[in-house]
Amino acid sequence: MAGSRDITATILPSAVDPASCELRVCLAGTWTLADGLGDLSAIESAAKSVPAQKRIDRLTFSCDELGEGDSSLICLIVKMATWARERNVKFDVAALPERVLKLYDLATTGTRYVAAEREERSAGIFYKIGRWAENSAGDFFKALDFLGETFVATGRFFRGKARMRWRDCLYFIQDAGLEALPIITLISFITGVILAFIGAMQLQRFGATIYVANGIALAMVREMGVVMAGVIMCGRTGAAYAAQIGSMQASEEISALRVLGVSPVEYLVLPRLLALSLMLPLLTIYADAIGIAGGLFVTGTMGITVDQFWTQVMATLNVRHLASGLIKSVFFGWLVAWSGCYRGMRAGKSALDVGSAATSAAVLGMVLLCIADGIFAVVYNALNF
């Protein structure tokens, strides 16, 4: 429902000073937000009609026919006050109804806070690059810092001095081990199936379909098993670690530990690092087996028997291949857990920060995992492993 509001502004000769004049604003009708907020056009056009040699020295109101008014009315009056202040015009609110006056007082008195300083959006490109470089360098040193802390904590652990709850560690082992099996099963099986199809497509041309088995066995055990398990754990567990520790950061639980003299790195980070470094090798062996089973499933439909498949697999695999995957898995497990904990410990205090910690933990974990895998590939190659 629209109100019947009205605003008129008239110029009157000033009663006090003949050289100046008064701006009388006449408010009437009902003011509702449905009509919008109202603007200063009436006042401004009236101000323009002031004779050149005179100036407006005060703004007054006449509210005889003013009815109900909601925020739209007060908002306009506050705006007029600003207008008057900028022009050095006395703002005379005496004629306003009491109810309006109270709100006007409430809005114009009280502390004025200093506006937040925000980085200028229009800052130059060099400024932005410099800012970015500074932040990245800062992040890098913080990461080194945390890396050092984890090494110290690990050292204390091996000397039997770390303050850590074994129950926590067992819980994380269960969470990152047994409870991760269903998703590892699904993804590894599909990986094996895909590898088998890709291998078969090429090898069928030479009539060498049987060698699909060798390819799958080698690929799963050396590379795909550990990488897929690592990536899954990164999304599933690494991100969860960041969220858990991040929300503890937000609710000051980490400060509480620190004050108690308990190192949060030992108490919170260490069990997670241990659990994932222990569990990822086991998950990798499991993923290898399931992936090879997926390959078997596909080659079975291509006329290769289980016996033939198994003979080929055993002929290809040896302990070295298995070890190459398992060594990597320990490192990957540690990296994934570390990135999760790192992002969690560095999270800010708001609910939003917890979410971004989880996201960035997953990203960081995967990036580190890929880099580490690349390094392993080069090193294994150099060592002929």
């Binding site: 449905a34 919008g36 908002c75 409430l106 809005a107 200093v114």
Partner: protein, 250 residues
């Protein structure tokens, strides 16, 4: 004008566990009504019933003349548009600045242009004494400022009823008093009915026109009335104990 809040024989329960039974009271236009009681007596639960977040086990809750039990979801939404709530923790959206927090209800429910919404939100912030803080994020301001910003957001749509959940919680006495003063100023100037959940005695005596005392022992309303009169003439031991024990420390 409709009665802002009318509660008849309300029984609240979680599953089979009854929290409070047979509550009946009305809140008049322009009245500051306080819900009082010890921790865990169901004050916040009662407030959740009043704003339709929880359904009563028995009895009716009428908001602005409409029964929340019977109204359609659309009707309830229309009713809630005329209600403002200040939550205990502020419940400001952390990804938005204070100005954007206050602007969001305006964006959803009015046809104002972006410029007008900005202007109105700025005015609402100045109304609660937060002029100049428009560009701050909730994580950058103090607890007292968060409460005020939350109040500004509750006021955004010129509500007819305001609900405050524990407004003084986590504030120092001076900030709490300022918030009480602000509460009264808002009632005096806007004529809004205000329902406050609190256990702070200072606050009860400072702002309340009437109070309902929830008695955890009997699971019923121990008393309803003006706080001063309840203090001078306590109807039962529980009310007397609650109103004097903490009060006698002063």
């Amino acid at each position: 004008m409709e009665t802002p809040v009318a509660v008849e024989n309300l029984t609240m329960a979680y599953g089979e566990t009854v929290v409070m039974r047979d509550l009946s009271f009305c809140v008049s236009p322009g009245e500051i009504f306080v819900i009082v009681g010890g921790s865990g007596c169901g004050k916040s639960t009662l407030m959740r019933h009043l704003i339709g977040l929880q359904s009563p086990k028995a009895g009716t809750v009428k908001l602005l003349g409409e029964s929340l039990n019977e109204a359609s979801p659309e009707k309830i939404n229309a009713l809630l548009r005329r209600v403002g709530v200040m939550y205990q923790g502020g419940a400001l959206w952390s990804s938005m600045t204070l100005l954007e927090n206050v602007m969001l209800p305006l964006e959803e429910y009015t046809d104002l242009s972006a410029k007008e919404r900005r202007e109105l939100a700025r005015y609402k912030l100045s109304l609660v004494g937060l002029a100049g803080t428009e560009d701050y994020y909730p994580s950058e301001i103090s607890g007292g400022m968060i409460k005020r910003a939350s109040l500004a957001r509750a006021l955004a749509l010129d509500p007819e009823i305001l609900f405050f959940d524990e407004p003084g919680a986590g504030l120092d006495p001076l900030s709490a008093k300022r918030l009480d003063d602000l509460t009264k100023s808002i009632r005096d100037s806007l004529g809004t009915a205000i329902v406050i959940v609190t256990h702070e005695l200072d606050s009860i005596f400072a702002v309340a026109d009437r109070a309902i005392f929830l008695d955890i022992a009997t699971k019923t309303a121990g008393a309803i009335g003006k706080p001063r009169e309840l203090l001078e003439n306590p109807p039962n031991a529980a009310v007397y104990e609650f109103l004097t024990r903490a009060g006698s420390k002063k």
